[in-house]
């Protein structure tokens, strides 16, 4: 196994980790106007992701940084070709972060409303647009030796939008389960019920996604060559079913982990099909960026492997610890008074 292959795997793991982790706090953000009926519910939802969202978002930065270091040509093409889409993701993430920090700093109602909009839009846009972006990567980008032949609107094709909707639905389930897990009483009950209802839509989208993908993309080729990889989508479906099964029995913690596994496995399903491409071209196979023609030198990849071997376990270690510190459910009183101020 070459370093380039290792980095393809790591690249996938970093994206999957990002979707699993930020997935629930983006989901919570999207559900905020629906579940947060009262001011205290809203405070609870914000508080439930308060200690974690920033650390979760760094997985995106790391996935981006790893793409830069390990596959510079992919980084350059992906970010410049998807310029406007990523610009919107960027502004969404900026507004979201600032909203969470500034929301409680002023008591005027218009102030709160403004930052609430920032929080909700800032949660929806990255979920949707990153889904659309990955849908288009699975599908192949309109690029050849002369460069890129598309705009923001070429990305909004039916398959791209389907993947975007799938991401949004999975994150919504994930976020609803998180809120159910971290809160008590009425809010938790409503969140769990909502998770069940959105699950139906998510399940439908997963089924449609799995049916459409072999026709809309070339991802299925790898599965036909190495059929035992079918175990990945199969486990994805199993995790999805387990999510509902646990949620239905009120085992919220397990349902949350099953939902995390679903997101990870759906991402993995796409990446297994993508291999060895990172950015396939739908116009000209020779212009596809693969781990062979777009990776950094073996020396750089070796250095980066050592860095990853040291720091990724360390990061996982302290992030798990932080999640444990904040493992208790949050009471309404705590959400109001136990903030920094």
């Amino acid at each position: 196994m070459t370093f380039a292959v290792i980095w393809f795997i790591l690249w996938g793991v970093l994206w999957a980790a990002y979707f699993v982790l930020d997935g629930f706090d983006l989901g919570a953000g999207m559900l905020y106007p629906f579940l947060g009926r009262s001011e205290s519910d809203r405070a609870l939802i914000r508080r439930s992701i308060g200690p974690m969202w920033d650390g979760n978002e760094v997985w995106l930065l790391t996935a981006g940084g790893a793409t830069f270091a390990a596959f510079p040509a992919v980084y350059a093409s992906m970010f410049s070709y998807l310029y406007t889409a990523l610009l919107l993701v960027l502004f969404a993430l900026i507004f979201r972060g600032v909203s969470l920090e500034f929301r409680a700093k002023d008591k005027r109602p218009s102030w709160g409303k403004f930052w609430d909009v920032g929080f909700v839009a800032g949660s929806l846009l990255p979920a949707l647009l990153l889904g659309v972006a990955f849908g288009n990567i699975f599908r192949g980008l309109p690029m050849d030796a002369a460069g890129y032949h598309g705009t923001l609107f070429t990305l909004l094709n039916p398959y791209g939008l389907l993947t975007g909707a799938l991401f949004v639905a999975l994150f919504l389930v994930h976020g609803a389960l998180w809120i159910a897990l971290k809160t008590e009483g009425d809010l938790a009950k409503r969140a769990l019920a909502l998770a069940g209802r959105i699950w139906v839509a998510a399940a439908l989208l997963v089924v449609v996604f799995f049916i459409v993908t072999p026709f809309a993309t070339k991802l299925v080729v790898n599965y036909l060559v190495w059929p035992w990889w079918f175990v990945v989508p199969a486990l994805g479906v199993l995790a999805l079913v387990m999510t509902m099964s646990y949620a239905g029995r009120g085992r919220v913690g397990r349902a949350f982990f099953a939902s995390a596994a679903t997101i990870g496995l759906v991402t993995a399903t796409g990446l297994v099909g993508l291999y060895p491409n990172l950015l396939p071209s739908r116009l000209d196979a020779a212009s596809s960026l693969t781990l062979f023609n777009a990776s950094s030198s073996p020396y750089t990849l070796k250095i980066m492997t050592i860095v990853a071997l040291i720091f990724v376990p360390l990061v996982i270690g302290y992030q798990v610890w932080v999640y444990r510190v904040f493992r208790a459910k949050i009471s309404a009183q705590e959400a109001e008074t136990d903030s920094f101020y």
Partner: protein, 444 residues
């Protein structure tokens, strides 16, 4: 293509300068907050807890904007500078990826722990959390400065496969240029935080508000700013020597030195005249001064701009002016920090309203000086993107239309402008309000 390069440069400059309004205060203030929280842990004196909380609150308002505007910087290397990213990604991507993995995770994870962990952690663990954030921010700055240092002084690479490939990771990590930029930047951040704390404390001392708390804040901040200020000068001197050796065009532009000469004098007042390739006037020369500054050797030869092809010269006037102003303001700040330390030591702070008023007005100065310093470093690097290796005009993305970049630039201007206003509003509001009272039983 030229329009894309121009607009992308404008956008990068605007976004990085905005980002760097928040970074210096973050880099400095976090250490003061950690210091005061440890003082509280050691002494149990609630004054220090309230100090940690008050300054910590201001730190957080500032911190979040530094974080979110930092994401823009990483994205732009790919979005606007794709040709650059392709050409040097093999070596330049590494420090950025390491920054995210080794430093950014650390600060972002432990800041959440600190903000929400007052009742979940022991006092010591809680103070440790902010200390880890402090190390995280410094480590983050180190890797970014190493990346920048490589652009100033590219080392440890070979041109292979049509790109710059890394051959020596050690050379990148121990690149003296990057370390000096880091030290200078970090210490300048300490000075910024020192002046910020002194200024806000002065505001309250003028109003006789929470006098013991703000006197203690002021005195610590004065020592902090003074010590860091002296070291800023020291690292700046070392940087001058490095620039003279590795980036002679930048050095010549900083001093508007047109002729190559041995034992070059330092000209205190002058004005560059680019068209006639000479200075419009020169006043007050210190013999051998420039050779001493650039090479620590009075007889050393300083390369003049005339011996550098016009196509390889940076824009002279802005680099020259920024450098001169940075140095002048820098020494002025060092003097005021010394004065503040003296006033605090002699216990005369409350009886010097004029001095206190000056300190309130000086809050913005370190920010301006730091921006000037970066103008020298980055504009002085032009026309190179990577000094001597790749021109800025060759680095921009080929797939972009000027309209796309114009749109994003206008959007950044609009959004960042609004965020800047909100940030100043909140900082001013919470600075004026002062520390919150401690409820009974402590540990609010």
């Amino acid at each position: 293509m030229d329009a894309v390069v121009g607009l992308s440069r404008l956008q990068f400059a605007a976004t990085v300068m905005f980002h760097f309004i928040f970074v210096p205060l973050t880099l400095g203030l976090v250490w003061l907050v950690a210091w005061w929280e440890w003082k509280y842990v050691r002494s149990g004196d609630e004054k220090f807890l309230r100090m940690a909380k008050f300054w910590g609150k201001l730190f957080l308002i500032n911190f979040v904007l530094g974080v979110v505007t930092g994401i823009t910087m990483e994205f732009q290397f790919g979005m606007n500078w794709a040709e650059y990213a392709k050409y040097v990604g093999d070596i330049f991507g590494a420090p950025l990826a390491i920054e995210a993995t080794a430093a950014f995770f650390l600060e972002s994870t432990f800041i959440g722990l600190w903000v929400f962990g007052w009742k979940k952690l022991s006092k010591k663990m809680h103070a440790a959390a902010i200390t880890i954030v402090a190390f995280g921010t410094a480590l983050s700055a180190l890797w970014i400065c190493l990346a920048n240092g490589w652009m100033q002084n590219p080392v440890g690479y070979a041109l292979r496969n049509g790109r710059a490939e890394m051959t020596d990771f050690g050379a990148v990590v121990f690149n003296g240029t990057g370390w000096l930029i880091f030290a200078h930047t970090l210490l300048a951040g300490f000075v910024t935080a020192g002046f910020f704390v002194m200024g806000v404390s002065a505001y309250h001392l003028l109003r006789k508000n929470e006098v013991p708390l703000f006197k203690a804040s002021f005195r610590t901040a004065a020592v902090f700013a003074l010590a860091a200020g002296i070291l800023v000068v020291g690292t700046g001197d070392r940087q001058g020597v490095r620039v003279a050796k590795h980036q002679p065009a930048k050095f010549a532009a900083m001093e508007s030195q047109w002729e190559t000469e041995a034992g070059a004098p330092y000209t205190v007042f002058s004005w560059p005249d680019r068209r006639n390739e000479k200075n419009a006037f020169e006043f007050l020369k210190i013999p051998k001064g420039l050779s001493l500054m650039g090479f620590h050797d009075g007889s050393a030869v300083v390369k003049g701009l005339k011996d550098i092809p016009p196509a390889e010269r940076p824009p002279i006037l802005p680099v020259f002016l920024s450098f001169k102003l940075m140095v002048a303001f820098g020494f002025f700040m060092l003097l005021t920090a010394f004065w503040g330390w003296l006033e605090g030591k002699r216990g005369r702070l409350e009886s010097s309203p004029k001095f206190l008023r000056l300190m309130v007005w000086l809050i913005p100065l370190p920010y301006i000086v730091i921006q000037l310093g970066w103008v020298v470093t980055e504009l002085g690097r032009q026309p190179w993107l990577v000094y001597g290796l790749m021109r800025t005009s060759d680095g921009a993305s080929m797939s972009l239309a000027p309209s796309q970049v114009l749109f994003s630039f206008l959007l950044f201007t609009l959004v960042y402008g609004a965020l800047g206003v909100v940030d100043i509003y909140l900082l001013a509001k919470f600075s004026r309000r002062g520390p919150s009272p401690v409820p009974e039983g402590g540990r609010p």
